[in-house]
Symmetry: C2
Subunit: 366 residues, 2 copies
């Protein structure tokens, strides 16, 4: 495969050898693709892909100096989850002299791969990327990036370098166990499009119910894995979607007695659907969400949810980047921030929770 | 004031003349502030501020070549309003070769001024900035930026170059008029911290009520202009805040018959407060919000709101930037995208709206 640089990154000579052409041809094909034949371009592109080669656009001018830009890849700019993560990242970058470049991968792994190619060409100081769902090519590029790489919002035994997040599977399992413990028996699941993190939550839900002998696949309501949904984040988990999925569930399975929603937006819609049909929450149907947005506590009844540490995820990722850029160690490669099961009135079937909420509000007002 | 460059931007010589020192001293004070006396530094910094001088960090290497970065300044990364604007900007940038650098100004005009100084030093290709509330220094810097500058999410007769948005005052007035027309008479207003855009909405509310002889300043519930609120976007307009403000209003003024909330997050909390107190919406109290987030239509009852064109604001701002960078004209300097008053069940006191919503949902399901 030819010589490698000290960084271990493949060189243009490696690509040339793999494609069976000269380095100058490779260089021309990359800079001016119209100047080479389609067949030649294709074989060079394949060699680039196989080796995970990243051309360095700044090489001539800057040798291999890094920029001061931290590249951040998030799957959505529309959902509050990632707004909070970004706020943590921005809070973490203050007074560092670093700048942030945000890229919206739109939950599209192929797009993420193309974006990473561009991002790494610009020699970022570090990369922060959501989750563990990268393609093999993306992962190979990140492994050879030669800069700090932090994955966030998930956990894996096999991080690229470092990962800061929590277990969606365990969170799904514990919330479902809470519903079982609260006395519910026909516990459904509502979801929009199921990405990896949603599937992990669902796996936790299924395991807890299977262990209790309560799993019933007919109690699952989801929008389905439609390509149209994946490419337009307008369509991700709207409250209207939760409202409609819940109405459909109440029609099809009037015996459903609890709903674990894949996120709070769906849970909010499900609550309104119960209100619209005069279904008492939590006595007839319990409702739980995921994320613990502020409106879950403000709702009536206050709604149970899984509190995750979005801001902290972004903040600690940026701090880990700064430590490394200042010459520090990478530290623990797997950082589990955990989560909290917030038990509130919407799943309190047996009236076991102290009814403190209204008292708290009235104290605030007096 | 010495010579100016062809761009009209003040030069380092201008700063030196104003401060009564040599250009080399100015250069040293800017690059190595520790090497000059505090008094000298202060007088040079004053001259820099008065002239709106922006040192060009890339000047030596790059003459005056612009980067491919579009700088975007938004007041919050946490609120959905700006997530939608950013999504429009990202959708607009695709295939342009431009990159986006987002800066969070945190509704802090002094911070925005400091951020702009840094941003303009890096010679952005263009700047997109929220609103019209810039300080005089920020405005002077943007006027001399020598690149396309687009203000968004507001309107003014006097844009820096171009502004794309809508009138918050007119939207506030029209929603209030809708509440009057629907038969409400004691119409309150709920707000968190009042920034310029909130005050404009409030002005519209007050004008409409004054014209109808219905204005009552005792029907206003707000969190107040607390500095702590301004510097932490955690505290902006939470649903819990809306819940508590509404409970307080119902205690103090049980005769209130409608509430215009400065945004949908507060309206959602206000609805839950009415649910918690058994106050029927819309018969006893009507509720309207601002922004028309998806949950307003999904709520029960479905809630009235002002639909604004957030995505389009971001998208058209980016398109305007691209047109200019491609050598096109600036076009109309003031682009009014308008808004829509979404009239739904939550303000339908007289039952005048066709009850189509549930039918629509059931058709979707069948």
């Amino acid at each position: 495969m030819g010589r490698r640089r000290a960084t271990g990154r493949p060189t243009i000579a490696d690509v040339a050898a793999r494609a069976g052409v000269g380095a100058i041809t490779v260089s021309r094909a990359l800079r001016q693709p119209d100047k080479v034949s389609p067949a030649l371009r294709k074989s060079i592109e394949e060699a680039v892909r196989e080796l995970g080669y990243v051309p360095d656009l700044n090489a001539r001018a800057l040798a291999s100096r890094r920029t001061d830009v931290v590249a951040v890849l998030v799957p959505s700019l529309t959902q509050n989850i990632f707004s909070d993560v970004l706020r943590g990242i921005y809070d973490g970058v203050e007074d560092s002299g670093l700048r942030i470049e945000i890229t919206n991968t739109r939950y599209n792994n192929a797009l993420e791969e193309a974006q990473l190619t561009t991002i790494l060409r610009h020699q970022p100081a570090a990369v922060i990327v959501s989750g563990t769902e990268q393609t093999a090519v993306s992962r190979a590029m990140l492994e050879r990036a030669g800069c700090p790489v932090v994955q966030i919002m998930d956990l894996t035994d096999d991080p690229i370098q470092k990962i800061i997040g929590f277990s969606h599977e365990r969170a799904g399992r514990e919330m479902t166990q809470h519903l079982i413990d609260a006395g519910y028996r026909r516990i459904g699941f509502l979801a929009g499009w199921m990405n990896l993190r949603s599937r992990q939550r669902f796996d936790g839900y299924r395991c807890a119910l299977e262990e209790a002998g309560l799993y019933d696949p007919d109690l699952i309501g989801e929008v389905g894995n439609d390509e149209a949904v994946k490419t337009d984040d307008h369509l991700f988990s709207t409250a209207m979607m939760g409202h409609e999925l819940m109405l459909a569930m109440l029609e099809r399975r009037p015996d459903v007695d609890a709903i674990f929603c894949n996120n709070d937006v769906l849970a909010l819609g499900a609550l309104f659907a119960c209100n619209a049909r005069g279904v008492p929450v939590p006595d007839r149907v319990g409702i739980a969400g995921f994320n613990d947005f502020d409106y879950m506590e403000a709702a009536f009844p206050a709604m149970s949810s899984v509190r995750i540490h979005r801001w902290r995820c972004g903040y600690e990722a940026m701090m880990a980047v700064r430590d490394q850029l200042n010459g520090g160690e990478i530290g623990e490669p797997i950082v589990d921030l955990g989560f909290e099961i917030m038990k509130r009135a919407s799943t309190d079937r047996r009236g076991e929770l102290p009814a403190v909420r209204d008292r708290t509000i009235l104290q605030t007002l007096s």
